[in-house]
Each structure stands twice: as structure tokens, then as C-alpha cells.
Amino acid sequence: MTDTQQPNPSEMAEVTQARPHRTLLNDAWIRLRRNRLAVAGAIIILIFALGAIFAPLITKYNFAKQDLDSIFLQPSGVHWLGTDELGRDVFARMLYGARTSLAVGIFTQLIVLLIGLPIGAFAGSKGGRVDNLLMRFVDIMYGFPDILLIILLSAVLRGTVFGNMGGGIFVIFLAIGLVAWVNVSRLVRGQILSLKQRDFVTAARAMGGKGTYITMRHLLPNSLGPIIVSITFGVPRAIFTEAALSYIGIGVKPPTPSWGAMIHDGYNVMFTAPHLVIVPAVAIALIMLAFTFLGDGLRDALDPRSRR
């Protein structure tokens, strides 16, 4: 095993070393598959995703069909997860709601990663004026309450080419993602500020490593843990934000369900029809748990030091 962290010349040569041809990603994939919890996480996500895609094949109920004679029914053989305030089947709404909520949870966090990671890494590794400018911009972003910015962005984005993509849902991904990246970027920056003074980085630099190379190769992999946690927590947060937005006319419109909106709608009757809150809350918790397992596995898999 070659430990990439060793400040010795062999490190630089590692890439060209004659050893079984395996890329970093290839390696990581193999390790990920061996991690049982990570696999379980992936399976949970897959089940929800398949359920969302093939919802019409799984349930005979239409998520919008009202039955005023069957309002607030408890779970039963007929309605597996009961019915809601308009007599609609909760299982069907949970399945179809996954389409919105899973997509929002996953895509917003992708956007967060794609923006927050490079900006944070750039600010942290460059330091000085660049860091100061970027971080003051982040201060401004932080200065506004999130929801205000998201509403503003959605309004702006709706006028652009993204406006009609996926029936407006794309705007939601972008608006939430464009606001949430600041958290990740500050986290990455803090990590890199701290790591870049470490001996191994100094050594790598002394040996002529380029800034970008050092960042990608040494700084980022060593700060992945907290970033992955932050992304994992971003998933339920995005799901709830979407619900807040759908209430003010941005994003998916009723009767299209989403998990966050289901919880909010169910809150009134939480003690008289608890299944209306429990079902979507458990769905969100399962998805978050799945991402936690997968994230932990991914972090371990990508860890350069555990490479064999």
C-alpha cells in the first residue's frame, strides 16, 4: 500500500507506478460494495426511486382522487397507509410524493456540492484577497434569511430557460441549491485553511506540486467527512424547504404531493389522524438514514489512506 500522505518522493511517482491498474474511483467502488451499511443505504434509495418511477404499477389509487366518504381512514387492507383529509390514499401520495421529494433532496445537494466545494476549496487554498472577497460574498448570502433568498431566486429563475424545465421543479432545485452551497463552502474553506499548513502539504508544495493538484489530491480527500455529513443533513432540509415553497405558489402545485407538504398538511390533525404525519416523516427519515450510510461508506471508500 502506498500511503499518499507520506512526504516522500514516492508519492509523486505513485500515479505512474507499475502496479495493478486501478484508478482511485475504481478502488473506491470496490470498497464501497464491500460496505454492508452503504449497500443497504443504496438499496433503500433504489427502492424509493423505483417506487416513485413505477408508482402507477404499484398502487391502483390515483394520488389526486378524492373520496369524501372515506376521510381520515386509519391504515387498513384497503388503504395500506390510510386516507387523508379529502379521502385520498396516503400510500399513493407517499409514492408519488417521492418523485418530488427525492428529486429535490438529491438534486439540490448535487448543486450544493458542485458550487460549494470548488468555491470553498478555492477560497481556502488561495487565501488572501480571493478568500476575503469570496467570504464577504458568503457573508452577504448569510446575511439574508434563507427563505427570502430562495423566493427571490425562484422569481428570477422562472424568467430564464430553467423556468419550465420539469414543470417548474428545476427552479426549485436551483433556488435551494444556489442558497445552500454557502454552508458547504465555508466548511470546505475552514478545513482547507487548517490542512494546508500541515507538513505533508508543505512537503508536497516544496516538491513542486501545483495548487490545484494539492487541493484535489490532499486537501479535499482529507476533509470529506464533515462535508458528507453536511450534504446528508441538506437532504431533509431541502425537502422541507420545497414544502414551504409549494405553499407560496412556487414549485409543485396541489394536488401533486410532496413529503414535506404532507407533514405540514397533516400537522393540524396530528393527534386525530397521526398516520398523516408519521408516513411522510418515516419516509424522510429512511431516506436520510440511507444517505447517512451511503455517505459514511463513500467517505471510507474515498479515503486515500485506506487504499489497498
Binding site: G127, G143, R186, Q197, I287
Partner: protein, 305 residues
């Protein structure tokens, strides 16, 4: 360091100005104004109100007037609570939110960080799994659901605490826990992840190889370095907590500024929107500055040029 702080404070003025301007534009651009009532007000009445609040002036003049007054410490009057100044409303609500927020923050830190550290030390143990479940539950349960459950259990069933109000320690406990749950979960997960990252670093191995005791390694090397991400997220979390939470304050009828902000936005209370947003931005900027200074104290190698 002194020079750095002064420069950051100067930057803060700029940040606040930008936040003020954007918010000012935004609130005037958003559809609906403070006098759009369900029962429409007659034009004469609207004109009188506009004149009273200076809304009959051109937009930039309004902004200029606002800034000039704000610099002199006058944040104007509220449009909803017409007899009260924005300053007195914020000064009435902030101590309440700050007290609640600090208690919640302490709970989050004192529960979250040790739990995360324990989970990292005993990876894949019962503690570790407990921490994962704890974090998942509190991150996926909205705090209004958690809050009302606390209320049903501790007020209605056990009669330990009153459901609402403010002023006694018994009234702080439930809202503080409702507020602390998510940050505690987040802190626990972040500190665990960070601990694991640091533990695998070579200098830790080196330290161990040098024969240092596990305790010294843990305290002097691991903990110190693992706290960087915790501090990074603790800053905004603290700012968020002390500036109040709309949901928790509304649920437990806590007279803080969290619910004032949301009310001000939904009622288009221009005076209170500007006041609360600026106050929030100020708190965030100060806390982020403190975080950056703390980085330097924890890790002397971090330098700001």
C-alpha cells in the same frame, strides 16, 4: 490581528449596506404592500398611510432617508405595531431570543459534541449507532412536530412545564430542547466525521508512534484539530439560534424576534423587515468574524494576510 479585525469590521459596513439595499429593493418589488388588506382600504386612506410612512417619496429618496436615519440609530416605526419603534421591538424581543438561543446552543454543543466524539472513538459500537439514529430522527422531524410532542408529554400528560409564555426557567426548557434537537444532531454527526478524519491523519500516527499516551493524543492532537468544522458550523448555528426561530417561538408563544421577522415579511411591515434583516446580518457577520478569529486561536498556523 488588530488590523485584520478592523478591516473585517469595515467590510461589515459594506456587507450591511448591500444587505440593506437588496432587502429594500426586494420588499418593494415583491407583490403586495403593507396596505393590501383583505378588505380593501379606500384610496384616500391608503394615501394618508403612504404619506404618514413616507411611501409617497421616490424609491431612492426613501432608501436614502432610511439609511441616514439608521446611521443615527433610528430604525423607524413598525407598520404593523404602529405605536412602537422598530428599535424598541427588536430590543424587546432580542434578549428573549438570545437567551433561548444560547440555552439551546449550549444544549446542542453539550449533547452533540460529546456524543459525536464518543461515536468516533467507539466506531460501529452501540454508541455510534445510537448517535446515527438520534441524528436521523431529529433531522427528519420538523421542530413543530417535535415541539408539540414535547408539549403533550411534558405539559398535558406530566404537568411538568407550562405550555407557553416566557419568564421562568420552566418556560425555557421545552422550547430550548425543541430548538436544540437539530443542531445537536448535526454537531454530533459533524464532530464524529471530523474526528475520524483527523484520527486517520499521519501526524496522529506519528504522535502515537512517539509513545504519547492515548489521552494526550486525543486531547492535544485529535480534539483540537477535529474542532475546526464544528466551529465552522457552530458560528452560523449560533447566529441562527440567538436571532430566534419562527416555528419554536410561535409554538411556545415565546415573545422573541424570530416570529417578528416572519410576521413582518408576511405583513409587509417594511420598517420591521429592514430592522430584523439588518440585525440578523449584523449578528451573522460578527459571529463569522469571531469564528475566523477562533480558527486562528485553535490552529495558530492559520494566518490571514
Amino acid at each position: 490581528m488588530g488590523k485584520y479585525v478592523i478591516r473585517r469590521l469595515l467590510w461589515m459596513v459594506l456587507v450591511l449596506f448591500v444587505v440593506a439595499f437588496v432587502t429594500f429593493c426586494l420588499m418593494h418589488l415583491v407583490p403586495g404592500g403593507p396596505w393590501d388588506r383583505d378588505k380593501a382600504l379606500p384610496q384616500t386612506v391608503v394615501d394618508n398611510l403612504n404619506r404618514k410612512y413616507g411611501l409617497d417619496q421616490p424609491f431612492l429618496i426613501q432608501f436614502k432617508n432610511y439609511i441616514f436615519n439608521a446611521v443615527r440609530g433610528d430604525l423607524g416605526v413598525s407598520y404593523i405595531y404602529q405605536d412602537r419603534s422598530v428599535t424598541s421591538i427588536i430590543m424587546g424581543g432580542f434578549p428573549v431570543s438570545a437567551t433561548l438561543g444560547l440555552v439551546a446552543f449550549l444544549i446542542a454543543i453539550l449533547v452533540g459534541v460529546p456524543l459525536g466524539i464518543a461515536a468516533a472513538i467507539k466506531q460501529n459500537s452501540f454508541v455510534d449507532y445510537f448517535a446515527v439514529i438520534f441524528a436521523t430522527i431529529f433531522a427528519s422531524m420538523p421542530n413543530f412536530v417535535l415541539g408539540i410532542l414535547l408539549m403533550i408529554i411534558f405539559s398535558v400528560t406530566l404537568h411538568w412545564f407550562p405550555t407557553s409564555g416566557w419568564g421562568s426557567i420552566r418556560q425555557i426548557i421545552m422550547p430550548a430542547f425543541a430548538l436544540a434537537a437539530l443542531p445537536a444532531a448535526y454537531m454530533a454527526r459533524i464532530s464524529r466525521a471530523s474526528m475520524l478524519d483527523v484520527t486517520r491523519q499521519d501526524y496522529i500516527r506519528t504522535a502515537r508512534a512517539k509513545g504519547l499516551t492515548e489521552r494526550v493524543v486525543l486531547v492535544r492532537h485529535i480534539l483540537r484539530n477535529a474542532m475546526i468544522p464544528v466551529i465552522t458550523i457552530a458560528g452560523p448555528e449560533l447566529a441562527g439560534l440567538v436571532t430566534g426561530s419562527f416555528i419554536v417561538e410561535s409554538l411556545f408563544s415565546v415573545p422573541g424576534i424570530g416570529r417578528l421577522f416572519v410576521q413582518s415579511v408576511s405583513q409587509r411591515d417594511y420598517g420591521l423587515i429592514m430592522g430584523t434583516v439588518l440585525f440578523y446580518a449584523f449578528a451573522i457577520a460578527i459571529i463569522n468574524l469571531v469564528v475566523d478569529i477562533l480558527y486562528g486561536m485553535i490552529d495558530p498556523r492559520i494566518r490571514y494576510d
